[in-house]
């Protein structure tokens, strides 16, 4: 089952999916770094990561 996290930066809302928690943390931080010049802490991403149906998000 894929893992899913949504960015809550103002005006963003991007949904990031990945195959594992480690990959999700990496992909979420790549998004926050590239799109917002910032970062999210690993624990904060994992605290709200959800299981995701296949094929959802980016």
């Amino acid at each position: 089952m894929a893992r899913r996290w949504q960015c809550l930066e103002v005006g963003c809302g991007a949904v990031i999916t990945a195959g594992s928690d480690d990959e999700l943390v990496e992909a979420a931080n790549a998004h926050v770094g590239e799109a917002h010049g910032s970062y999210e802490l690993e624990e904060m991403i994992l605290a709200v990561a959800e299981e995701s149906p296949e094929g959802e998000g980016s």
Partner: protein, 321 residues
């Protein structure tokens, strides 16, 4: 004389069990145990050399933040005990185990800033550091709509006393409600919203100036610890709010009491040329929305709007804890 069984039945003397050890809070305890770092083992020589070649303005810009981090870390170390006592009173042994690591980590952060000040900025005595702590009398909203408070130095002792009093009553609902307020203020609001831009500003600034790699490393190491602290507080609050939804209002009340400290712009945002000012306001909103999501509570949209409102223009001191 009471029998052994009357003092505590033998099977109740074992607090750890497989379900507890598979839970998210115990996992934080395990992770904290693996992630220990020692400020005394860091190399401060490059920072010291950078400090000598930095301008007076650059040095003052940095040290006005770091002294407040040192004070803030010592305050949060010293004010954490009520949360541990409450976890004990609620019979949540995984919370007790994790909070033991939490307190050690806050002490380690205190030690890091103390060492950095001594070895890099050559500040050893409290009165030397105090000279770099700007007065708060210029952090006033000129419109009079907002009044900034002292969430670290006034709020934590106040809500800590309230939690301690609740623990002494033994009333479970009172302890839970006071725990939600203390954890919301300490973990969600101070650590999880107000302090977060300060870390990023220091990291951004030292990267922009290409100086102070050990200060940056220390901040990043502290952030790794803080991620566990913040999400412990928000997850524990979520558990209690799911048990009794009336606690959500208590969380909003304590945030509302110190809302101006997020609405205002950090004075450091104004003092360092080259920083994108709006980035840190948007960041505060993102962190606030993230904390609400972790706690399972509805965000206050008026607070979001006020943080982002360019018409609201006043500065607040750095919160660090």
């Amino acid at each position: 004389m009471a029998t052994h069984a009357e003092i505590r039945p033998v099977e109740k003397r074992f607090r750890l069990h497989p379900e507890l050890m598979a839970g998210p809070v115990y996992r934080k305890y395990e992770k904290a145990s693996r992630k220990i770092w020692d400020p005394k083992l860091l190399d401060y020589e490059q920072d010291s050399a950078d400090w000598a070649r930095m301008t007076e303005g650059q040095r003052e810009g940095i040290v006005t933040i770091t002294v407040r981090f040192e004070g803030g870390e010592q305050e949060v170390t010293d004010e954490l005990l009520p949360m541990l006592a409450a976890a004990h009173a609620l019979g949540r042994f995984d919370w007790v185990m994790y909070l033991a690591t939490f307190m050690v980590e806050e002490a380690r952060h205190s030690e890091f800033f103390n060492l950095w000040h001594s070895r890099v900025a050559e500040l050893d005595r409290p009165e030397e550091k105090a000279r770099h702590w700007p007065p708060r009398d210029h952090t006033v909203d000129p419109s009079g709509r907002f009044t900034t408070g002292e969430p670290v130095y006034e709020g934590l002792p106040k809500y800590g006393k309230k939690l301690t009093a609740a623990v002494e009553t033994g009333d479970e609902a009172a302890i839970e409600g006071a725990f939600v307020q203390f954890a919301t203020l300490y973990c969600a609001w101070i650590e999880g919203v107000l302090t977060m831009p300060s870390y990023e500003i220091v990291i951004d600034t030292t990267e922009m100036w290409d100086v102070l790699p050990t200060l940056r490393l220390g901040f990043k190491s502290i952030l790794g610890d803080e991620g566990r602290h913040i999400t412990f507080g928000t997850q524990a609050s979520r558990i209690l709010i799911e048990k009794n939804p009336a606690y959500e209002a208590l969380a909003h009340d304590v945030i509302d009491e110190y809302r101006a400290n997020a609405v205002g712009m950090l004075e450091y945002q104004r003092n360092v040329p080259g920083l994108e000012l709006e980035k840190y306001q948007r960041q505060k909103v993102r962190h606030y929305l993230n904390r609400c999501r972790e706690m399972g509570i509805a965000p206050d949209q008026t607070l979001v709007d006020q943080i982002l409102d360019p018409e609201i223009d006043f500065v607040v001191g750095v919160e660090a804890g």
